[in-house]
């Protein structure tokens, strides 16, 4: 019962993060919402593993955490410097381009 309530609460949180991702006026709102959504998916899988007694799902939750982090770093690197092939210096002014979209 406790796990079921936790799962419903996590689903509501996913819905709220999704609303922010859809409405989000700036690009950073959407990035934060997507990071939040990934974290909530990890939590959902973890609680679901305890609810159904399949503890091997916890490993999958860990891999999701790693993927979520890598994706977030890639997105922020693109927003900050506009490419993936320089080591910090920006080539184009994608920052303003992304921001005005």
């Amino acid at each position: 019962m406790m796990y079921a309530v936790a799962i419903v609460a996590i689903l509501i949180t996913i819905l709220l993060a999704l609303v922010r991702a859809l409405l989000g006026p700036t690009v950073y709102d959407r990035i934060a919402a997507m990071n939040m959504l990934g974290t909530k998916t990890i939590l959902l899988i973890a609680v679901f593993a305890f609810l159904t007694g399949r503890h091997d799902l916890l490993d999958i939750a860990l891999v999701y955490a790693l993927i979520n982090f890598i994706g977030l770093v890639a997105v922020l690197k693109l927003v900050e410097q506009g490419n993936f092939f320089t080591a910090g210096e920006s080539t184009t002014d994608v920052k303003s381009e992304v921001a005005d979209k």
Binding site: I7, L11, I14, L15, L18, R30, L37, I45, I60, L78
Partner: protein, 193 residues
């Protein structure tokens, strides 16, 4: 009970995300929503006990393809082209009719296939009983799908990984030469303006 709540909620979220992706004009936001779509569908796969599919969906859908689409956006983005986007010349009714007819035929076709999880379905009769009985004692893997994918079809999976590895090398060879050229073009463009 809680299983169906989770499934229904996640599927509704997927439908909302799909409509939002169709309606949204900002490509960056669309890529972000694609990542969310992949994560939610991966969670759905985990809830349906398909751990390997969920693994692949999270790694490829949420991880790699998001990064690839962002890299493509960074290489191809042009503000003037984006703002003067042309509306399609044809009417949307013909594609809509084709989609509706195809969808209707597919739904009609599902009335003939056996019910979900039916033990008497032809797909469950061939080698599935053998796997269900012997996979744990023969391979020691608790998940049957993982046992089939990684143990019984280990060579098949190895071949797939080899194909993907070769494709990755080819893409690196193609893009690796172009990378410096793009950088020079960009700096030249900055110098000219």
């Amino acid at each position: 009970m809680i299983d169906s709540i989770v499934n229904i909620t996640l599927l509704s979220l997927l439908a909302i995300l799909a409509f939002a992706i169709i309606r949204m004009r900002s490509l960056f936001a669309v890529i972000m929503l694609f990542a969310g779509f992949s994560f939610i569908s991966a969670g759905l796969f985990v809830a349906m006990d398909a751990a390997d599919v969920a693994f692949t969906e999270a790694a490829v859908g949420a991880g790699i393809s998001t990064i690839l689409m962002l890299a493509t956006l960074a290489l191809t983005y042009a503000p003037e082209v984006h703002k003067k986007e042309k509306l399609p010349g044809h009417k949307p009714w013909l594609p809509l009719a084709v989609v509706l007819i195809t969808g209707g035929m597919l739904i009609y076709g599902t009335s003939d296939i056996p019910a979900f999880g039916d033990p008497n379905a032809p797909a469950q009769q061939h080698v599935a009983p053998y796997y269900l009985e012997k996979s744990l004692s023969e391979t020691g893997v608790p998940n049957v799908v993982t046992a089939v994918l990684a143990s019984y079809r280990g060579f098949d999976t190895l071949g797939e990984v080899t194909v993907i590895f070769t494709a990755g090398i080819a893409v690196l060879l193609l893009i690796g030469g172009r990378r410096k050229k793009t950088k020079n073009e960009t700096t030249e463009g900055v110098n000219e303006t």
